[in-house]
Symmetry: C2
Subunit: 367 residues, 2 copies
């Protein structure tokens, strides 16, 4: 029986979900207010705002279940849909990931180490916050931040107060600014019957607040740290009674993992899994929500991924590097926009180093 | 610059070409007379007969180049399109592959061993044919045979004559019936600039004239035989000035390769490449016709593929076998119809044996 999956969001993540799901016999419908979204060649495009009840009704009437590729969907939207059709992951995961204070509290309650933090709802909170986090610190909006937007580094209580005023009094959170060695992430899946699967720790480099490269697996990871990452991911999956794929981003500080945030969806740092893992994160997300057995998360090869930001390079020299795979998202070039990614695979971390170096000479991000 | 590729045919091969090509930034239009073809979720479907000039005009006006996934397209169609847009592979490859006598002559001229054969255009040819091939022999229509259709085993000159009459005098070919150890095939690619790439020899099992399983690489292949297979494929690619992917099917007889036929397109025996090779045959076909560097044809793992014929099994137990990948074609079940395939990957030929055995307990072909 052919199933139809509804997706909230029609960007590249929805596109790659559809590419992974069509071979499983699935069809897709995506709500996406933007014209001409990346998912359009592969899914029925419903051009509605995420909070337009007409669109949500249409989606609910025509699909077997709903998932999302974009976690800034209004909570009310997910809750409305949940009354009509199964929604995976649940609105609870969405709610917690959307609100940085709740997210930090959730990490802390589960015993997952995170940076020091303090919620700021009023001018009076500003000085208390500083005592908890120290200075300088990172002041963030609690909701709807992405790719480094909605955050600022502050060096004094005055700056915190000024920013609170400038942000028009929206709820903020002050977070400890830590000097990390590097950024790591883990991607994990949990199916409806509670089966879990974990990809290895990945190593990510951001530039201008946007992910530029990921390597899998991360280099020089002690066995203990790899185990802890899985343990944290398992706690989060079970704590949320999660169904689908999620990603946790960590800072590595003195050999310890400090959770920064999680994303309740497939994640840019896992795009290498299409080429470099036995089963991609996209296929495993779909297997999880369909309650099918999860696929093997073992590596097929060492991999690295580079985002194509703002500009698409000439493909011929890129594909000339052996075992290189190009994934374009069918988007118009615009500065700082993710237009695609390239994955390089190889037999050893050294082979990946070399290929990545060659690749970075061909790819010029435009911010 | 987004390119649009025209495909003659809208079946599963077109579907898998589109799945491989969308990430390369391509779009697709397919001419396919059947309603609701497998390609429909991924390409613009042009519902025209292959010889309908209105459809061919529309295709030529809207695409950058044309390829096919179905070699029984009328030659006139390919020739008509060639006057308007680049067509890869060329009509020459199509012409030769469509006519078994020409195909055999072409193999022979290139020094590629093939079975003995003799063309039958009249009743008088029947007794001469028998002298060349011996008896029993296989009598085939020279054109439009597929999946075992259009052929019969004959045991006497009388039977040859009776069949010639029954086939209404269409051109036939009598072929030596050989006792082969097994069926093997090779898939190879050649790009517009003459670059070539070869997948390893595969081992195929047909049932009721339809491919049931392929294994890659074929077991117990002497180095010399593997080299010869590549040499034959290279000769054919160059002899045809071929652009794209093709497959040659061989019989193994006393440790020698005897070419049976070639297909000027991606091939069922290469479907495992999606999961088991660094670059799939579908991506390499597109890279070849776009004149992009060919992708690495190395194995990611040992693989086997099973066609889903006539019926789709319950997916959960299939996907429970580790490193199993399901590919459905969005077709209505019907006896003897290829509805999808399953690939199993593993670390050794023995692991593949075991998984294949498990898989064959779950898959019941319906003929």
């Amino acid at each position: 029986m052919m199933k139809r999956i509804g997706i909230l969001g029609g960007g590249q993540l929805g596109r790659m979900l559809a590419l992974a799901g069509l071979p499983l016999g699935l069809r897709f419908s995506a709500i996406e207010p933007a014209d001409d979204p990346p998912v359009k060649a592969l899914a029925e495009h419903l051009p509605y705002a995420y909070d337009d009840l007409a669109g949500l009704e249409l989606l609910a009437d025509n699909v077997d279940m709903v998932t999302y590729e974009f976690e800034n969907v209004a909570l009310a939207t997910a809750e409305y849909l949940e009354k009509r059709v199964p929604v995976f992951p649940s609105s609870k995961a969405l709610m917690i990931s959307q609100e940085r204070f709740m997210e930090k509290e959730f990490f802390s309650d589960l015993g997952i180490p995170t940076t020091e933090y303090y919620p700021i709802d009023s001018i009076d909170d500003c000085s208390n916050a500083k005592i908890v986090t120290g200075l300088p610190a990172v002041l963030k909006t609690r909701r709807f931040g992405y790719d480094g937007k909605g955050q600022v580094i502050v060096h004094s209580v005055e700056e915190i107060r000024d920013s609170f005023t400038r942000f028009n009094g929206v709820p903020l959170i002050l977070e400890q600014k830590i000097n990390f060695t590097r950024e790591l992430s883990i991607i994990a899946a949990r199916s409806r019957n509670g089966e879990t699967a974990f990809y290895p720790l990945m190593e990510n480099v951001h530039k201008n607040g946007i992910l530029l490269t990921s390597r899998a697996p991360a280099r020089h990871v002690a066995h203990e740290m790899a185990s802890l990452a899985k343990e944290y991911a398992a706690k989060l999956l079970d704590g949320l009674d999660y169904v689908g794929v999620l990603a946790i981003e960590f800072f590595e500080v003195n050999g310890k993992l400090i959770a920064n945030e999680f994303a309740p969806r497939v994640h840019n740092s896992g795009h290498w899994t299409i080429d470099g893992a036995c089963t991609s994160q996209f296929e495993n997300h779909l297997r999880a929500i369909l309650d099918l057995p999860l696929g093997n998360t073992d590596l097929r090869s060492f991999s690295a991924m580079v985002n194509l930001i703002g500009e698409i390079p000439d493909l011929a020299p890129v594909l000339k590097i052996p075992d290189t795979h190009v994934h374009l998202y069918d988007k118009e070039p615009r500065p700082s926009r993710k237009l695609g990614h390239v994955t390089v695979c190889g037999d050893s971390p050294d082979a990946i180093d070399k290929k990545l170096e060659q690749l970075m000479e061909l790819i010029i991000p435009v911010y």
